[in-house]
């Protein structure tokens, strides 16, 4: 018989010490090489060289920064919605069809999932490039001269949808495959049309997957650096790109730190909301 949950109460003294001893290496390492640098970012955001809030006031009073922040949210929202709309039917068909279809589709998803962001970003660079196939196709259809595709908000958004679809599909699939199809059959036997059975039974049951996938994709988008920097418009940066510019080009560590803290707070807020309603440990299922 497995001891019930409260079993540690009696022997807590020695067991606590053992636990902390085992945790010591990991916690000490994370404290020195994770918490300290993270704390430094927070620290530098309010120093110049003495205590100051000017990095925040200059961020919050400048409409440029607000536009970056708003643009980042907008892009993340659009990417999340498109990724969901495209992934849901695919994940649904994988679960419904099963067999070889599911194997091949999951293989494709896994292939994309494991291929470096940089490789996939490069692929979009070729496709959307001035000498690329997409412009050639548009021109062949008479849209001449075809519009500039690369280095626009469109190109980085499109690429991010592509990059994050595998995450969304896997989040949806892991929930959908546990849904008992007898629920749907029961609904049908009780008189529901196929659409009603989907809408009233399957969709609500898959909701946790939708929430997980959307949270994951939205948060990854908020902090996305590589793809927006390489494919996006230099005039319409996202927040991570802005931080990069502040470091690399202007060596403005105070401002970069303040921007980082704001990005961090936004991210943590979303995680906190998720944690409040779902529980953080569910996110990585």
């Amino acid at each position: 018989m497995v001891p019930p949950v409260g079993s540690a109460a009696i022997k807590s003294g020695s067991s606590d010490a053992k636990a902390w001893l085992l945790l010591l290496p990991a916690l000490a390492f994370l404290a020195v090489f994770f918490l300290v640098p993270l704390g430094q970012v927070v620290f530098f955001s309010v120093m110049d060289p003495g205590f100051t809030l000017k990095h925040y006031t200059s961020f919050l009073s400048d409409s440029f920064y607000w536009r970056v922040l708003w643009g980042t949210f907008q892009t993340a929202g659009i990417v999340t919605i498109f990724a969901l709309l495209m992934s849901y039917p695919l994940a649904y068909m994988i679960v419904r069809m099963g067999g070889h279809f599911a194997t091949v589709m999951l293989l494709i998803i896994a292939m994309s999932f494991w291929t470096s962001f940089l490789v996939r970003t490069f692929a979009w660079m070729v496709i959307l490039g001035n000498n690329g196939p997409l412009r050639a196709i548009l021109e062949a259809f008479g849209w001449s001269p075809a519009p500039q595709l690369l280095f626009t908000r469109f190109s980085s958004t499109l690429a991010m949808v592509h990059l994050l679809i595998p995450f969304m599909v896997l989040a949806l699939y892991s929930v959908m495959k546990k849904i008992d199809m007898n629920f749907v059959r029961a609904a049908r036997s009780l008189g529901a049309t196929p659409f009603q059975a989907f809408h009233r039974v399957f969709l609500p049951l898959s909701a946790p997957g939708i929430v997980n996938g959307c949270t994951l994709v939205f948060i990854m988008c908020l902090g996305f650096y590589v793809t927006p920097v390489l494919l996006g418009s230099p005039r319409e940066q996202m927040i991570a790109g802005l931080i990069g510019t502040q470091i690399e080009e202007f060596l403005e560590f105070g401002e970069a730190s303040a921007t980082s803290v704001i990005l961090l707070l936004v991210t943590l807020a979303i995680f906190a909301i998720y944690n409040r309603f779902v529980g953080l440990d569910k996110l990585w299922g």
Binding site: A26, S116, H162
Partner: protein, 257 residues
């Protein structure tokens, strides 16, 4: 339903299509990113393998990845034992701490490491990258190893003790060998995470310890070097092989049975 299926296939095509385009690009004779390629040759493959500016980052990335993998599992294995098997005060706080590196955006950590490692004089060194990547790899490794540990049947340990093995022998003869695959997968994920990680590496690895993702990023952004398509194809090939080989294994090996 057929409409949904058709749409799902279009999405699948959207997912896989762009991956495939890098393959012909790598054999292209064009000096810029041009598609379809004007002609085909193997020149950029030769160039890639002969060019230390490309091969060195590959070696760096593999070395950093291996070191990260080793360090990560050495930290995570004992921590996972504590988290899965012990009930103690502060457990959920520790859990949050172990997951934190996955929550904080990488660009924020890149900034933190940039100034912290400059201060410690380990910026632009492989050591710095290994330390940073280890922190970032802890969560994924922890998730996998803790899951393996949760799935471990404690009766195996009871049986070993019942059959005369002391606590230490029980660990080495039973617990460790049974969990070894889980530990290895946890380590493999740490390696992959490090090998693929771009953002922190871009800011802290510098020229000397440049990782492959950093080199690729610079190459795409600054030089538009056609060799990038060779690297991309090779990376894609490795993934393709890794993803498909279990399937081939099943078809080739299991068929006679």
């Amino acid at each position: 339903m057929n409409l949904v299926l058709a749409f799902a296939l279009v999405v699948a095509l959207f997912v896989v299509g762009p991956l495939l385009i890098v393959v012909p690009m790598s054999f292209s004779t064009a000096t810029s990113f041009e598609f379809p390629p004007p002609g085909y040759w193997l020149g950029y493959y030769r160039a890639f393998f002969a060019d230390a500016r490309w091969t060195q980052p590959v070696i760096n990335s593999i070395g950093i990845g291996l070191a990260t993998m080793l360090l990560t599992i050495l930290l995570v294995i004992p921590a996972s034992f504590a988290m899965v098997r012990q009930r103690f005060f502060g457990r959920s706080a520790v859990n949050l701490m172990l997951m934190m590196p996955m929550i904080v955006p990488h660009i924020v950590m890149a900034l933190g490491y940039y100034s912290y490692f400059s201060h410690l004089k380990i910026i632009h060194s492989p050591l710095g990258v290994v330390l940073a990547h280890t922190c970032l790899s802890v969560p994924v490794s922890y998730l996998i190893i803790a899951a393996a540990l949760k799935g471990f049947d404690r009766n195996l340990e009871r049986a070993a003790m019942n059959l005369g093995a002391g606590p230490l022998r029980t660990f080495w003869e039973v617990t460790f060998p049974v969990l070894r695959p889980g530990f290895l997968i946890g380590g493999l994920f740490a390696f992959i995470h490090s090998f693929d990680e771009a953002v922190v590496a871009i800011f802290i690895s510098g020229q000397a310890a440049s990782t492959l993702p950093r080199k690729m990023f610079d190459s795409i952004r600054i030089e538009a070097d056609p060799i990038i398509s060779v690297v991309s194809t090779l990376l894609f090939g490795v993934v393709l092989l890794a993803v498909i080989s279990p399937l081939i294994w099943r078809v080739v090996v299991k068929r006679p049975v």
